[in-house]
């Protein structure tokens, strides 16, 4: 009976993640120790976070072990449809730039949402996304960039009365 051997893949990302978990756990333990562990009436505010921190450090050991070891035959026989792990950043050719633009514009719109006001940030975001990511024509792009803020305004501000930063650019 032949069992296909699966290549063990050591993913740097997994190791980094495990270390981050360990670090997070250690920090938690440190911070939680500054809180009272017990109180007159029972466990104090430091009780749960402290033990959660310890759990995280223990878990990170397991995570590290899993990240480094080669999967055994038993594992692959048991779970034959577990796909071999994909690398962390896996881009179809040509997809990286749009993705990067998307990430940057998403982060930008979040940071500047209040500064620029809802209309401008929404409009600019749609402009960038439609043109350079969705590869729409200039006509569609302008259409989306102008209409979207208006539609969202009607929906959120007029109908739902949700607070939105209208300053500094609004009509």
């Amino acid at each position: 009976m032949l069992i296909l051997e699966r290549e063990g893949t050591v993913r740097i990302a997994e190791i980094v993640a495990a270390l981050c978990v360990a670090l997070f756990g250690a920090t938690t333990i440190a911070l939680a120790s500054q809180l009272p562990y017990g109180a007159d009436y029972g466990p104090g505010p430091g009780f749960l976070p402290f033990w959660l921190g310890i759990t995280l450090v223990v878990l990170s050991a397991f995570l590290l072990r899993d990240a480094v070891r080669t999967p055994s035959d038993a594992d692959s026989a048991e779970d034959p449809d577990a796909a071999s792990p994909a690398p962390f950043f896996h881009f179809v050719p040509g997809a990286f730039t749009p993705w990067l633009i998307f990430v940057v514009s998403t982060v930008t719109v979040s940071l500047l949402f209040e500064r620029l006001g809802f209309a401008l940030s929404t409009g600019l975001f749609m402009l960038v996304t439609m043109r350079w990511i969705a590869r729409q024509s200039w006509r569609s792009t302008i259409l989306f960039a102008v209409v979207t803020p208006i539609v969202l305004y009607i929906g959120f501000v007029r109908i739902l009365k949700v607070p939105i930063p209208l300053e500094p650019v609004w009509f």
Binding site: M1, A13, E14, A17, V21, F24, L31, L35, P36, A39, G42, P43, G44, P45, L48, P49, L52, G53, T55, L56, L59, S60, F62, L63, D66, A74, A77, E78, D79, A82, P85, F88, F89, H90, V92, A95, W99, F102, V103, T106, V109, S110, L111, F113, E114, S121, F125, M126, T129, I133, A134, R135, T148, L152, F156, L160, V162, P163, I164, P165
Partner: protein, 516 residues
């Protein structure tokens, strides 16, 4: 008994007036839209529309608000299935299999079974509320902190279902979620934890921000790595495609029954709510299923069970509100505010003093259910067709809605930044196979779990046996521990059986090789 039916009939006659039907319809549609919008949950939606009802007749107002409540539940399901973004904490469990079904081209089926399950569960829920409120109230009153803690532990067993291949990763997600839930003001001691002097952290991390970030933004950032997004198999979108096939129905029907039951029992407990119910239902379903490996990959029962549970739990959450005047969940707390606004006092006297209102409400819950089914049979194809929009455009709108939703929570631009930070975390988690649902599980159940734990230990003066000496708590604890350990035990048993098989085969081969 006859009285009850007479009163109910009266209630229906009140609820079925054209005005009230219109209000129910408006409520259901508005609720669905609110539930589907990220960042605007049921509680926010109901409280936004509450002031509008000030001048309305109380019966019409409560009918509309209850309809919104139901509609919002379903709206949350829609986004959970179509874009893996839970609109409600109660629909997080639905994302586990619902979104997978959507990726397989079975979005309409997922929405369909969710509607059917929700309808059945909601109807049963209403009937139970009508007939069995006193009984359920007595049962609910026997739940003290140890029982709550044991119940939540049962909810955490959903972790086993959520964890997929790596238990360590699943546990890590849950523990991180639990830690996130400790940030902010600690009610019991009055101290603020992990706030680093920042005022805006005092109330902790809102579920909505984390959910929109980790699920919504994280999913999109991952999807955008492939042009065209995640390949979604497109299938026919007629309303017929949302009905389950015979085989699917066979698998789902008991899931619906179990989910309904669990939802009723958990929802009737004040503070427990539909989220806990949905997780427990999912976990139970996976443990009793003949196809456990399919959970997390598009098992239809994985949608049927939690969806039924959260609907019957919503209905059951009305019970403490109506019988004791104690709200069973956040939304019912807002409804309680509404009652007071309209000059009504909830409690045992409500049925005798204002029968029209109380029975009208119950009748309208039933009508709301029916409306949802009709609406969704026709609207599901419409919603599923949203998937045909080019992925990049979908992604852009999701981002915009998320940003507006996040901002709208507290008018605080920092919330938007927090959401995006969680989005990046969600992206990393997705790439590394850490289950996002685990994070949410910890975040949502954390506060109640910790509170129950500390209260229990305070009650028992530090004696941990309190969890095993009280009968209900003991039963639940045993169930929870069993549910946590059963998947591990099963895996170990299978592995040892397989090893034994392999050894037998090797021995056979050696023997036959030696004989030649």
């Amino acid at each position: 008994m006859i009285d009850v039916f007479q009163d109910l009939g009266n209630g229906f006659s009140v609820a079925l007036t054209p005005t009230n039907i219109l209000f129910a319809f408006i409520g259901v549609v508005a609720g669905m839209i609110i539930g589907a919008l990220p960042g605007i949950g049921t509680v926010v939606g109901v409280s936004l529309l509450l002031p509008l009802t000030f001048d309305m007749d109380p019966t019409s107002a409560i009918i509309m608000l209850a309809a919104i409540y139901y509609g919002a539940q379903y709206g949350g399901t829609i986004t959970s299935v179509l874009i893996n973004m839970p609109g409600e904490a109660a629909t997080v469990a639905t994302t586990l299999d619902g979104y997978q079904m959507a990726l397989q081209g079975r979005a309409a089926k997922a929405l369909g079974i969710a509607t059917i399950g929700s309808f059945i569960a909601g109807t049963v829920g209403v009937i139970v509320v009508t007939l069995l409120s006193p009984l359920l109230t007595t049962y609910a009153l026997r739940f003290g902190p140890p029982e709550y803690f044991a119940l939540i532990l049962l909810g955490f067993t959903a972790l086993g279902a959520v964890a997929g291949s790596s238990l360590a990763k699943g546990l890590t997600s849950v523990v991180v979620g639990l830690l996130l839930s400790t940030v902010g003001l600690d009610i019991m001691s009055g101290r603020s934890r992990f706030t680093f002097g920042e005022d805006w952290l005092i109330s902790g991390f809102s579920f909505l921000l984390v959910a929109i970030g980790v699920f919504g933004i994280g999913e999109i950032l991952d999807g955008m790595m492939t042009p065209g997004g995640h390949p979604i198999i497109k299938t026919s979108l007629s309303w017929r495609s949302s009905l389950p096939s015979a085989a699917e129905w066979v698998r789902s029907r008991w899931a619906i029954v179990r989910g309904t039951l669990i939802g009723l029992l958990v929802g009737a407990l004040p503070g427990a709510g539909s989220t806990l119910a949905s997780f427990i239902a999912y976990s139970v379903e996976r443990n009793v299923s003949k196809h456990p490996k399919e959970f997390g990959k598009g098992a239809i029962e994985g949608v049927a069970a939690p969806e039924s549970a959260n609907n019957s739990a919503s209905a059951a959450a009305m019970i403490p509100l109506l019988t004791l005047g104690v709200p069973g969940s956040g939304t019912t707390a807002v409804l309680l505010g509404g009652f007071l606004l309209w000059g009504l006092r909830p409690g045992p006297l409500l049925f005798t003093q204002h029968p029209d209102f109380a029975w009208g409400l119950i009748a309208s819950m039933y009508i709301g259910n029916v409306m949802l089914v009709l609406l969704n049979i026709f609207a599901t194809p419409l919603f599923a067709s949203l998937l045909w929009v080019p992925y990049a455009i979908q992604a852009a709108f999701v981002v915009l809605f998320s940003v507006v939703g996040a901002y709208s929570l507290n008018n605080n631009p920092l919330d938007v930044v927090v959401m995006i930070a969680f989005g990046i975390l969600g992206f990393a988690m997705k790439r590394l196979d850490y289950p996002a649902a685990g994070l949410i599980l910890g975040l949502v159940l954390g506060p109640l779990a910790e509170k129950s734990l500390r209260q229990s230990l305070t009650l028992s003066r530090g004696d941990w046996s309190i969890f095993f000496t009280r009968p209900i708590a003991a039963v639940l604890m045993v169930l929870a521990v069993a549910a946590l350990l059963w998947p591990l035990a099963r895996k170990a048993l299978v592995r040892s059986a397989r090893n034994r098989e392999m050894r037998n085969v090797e021995r056979e081969v050696q023997r036959s090789g030696g004989e030649e």
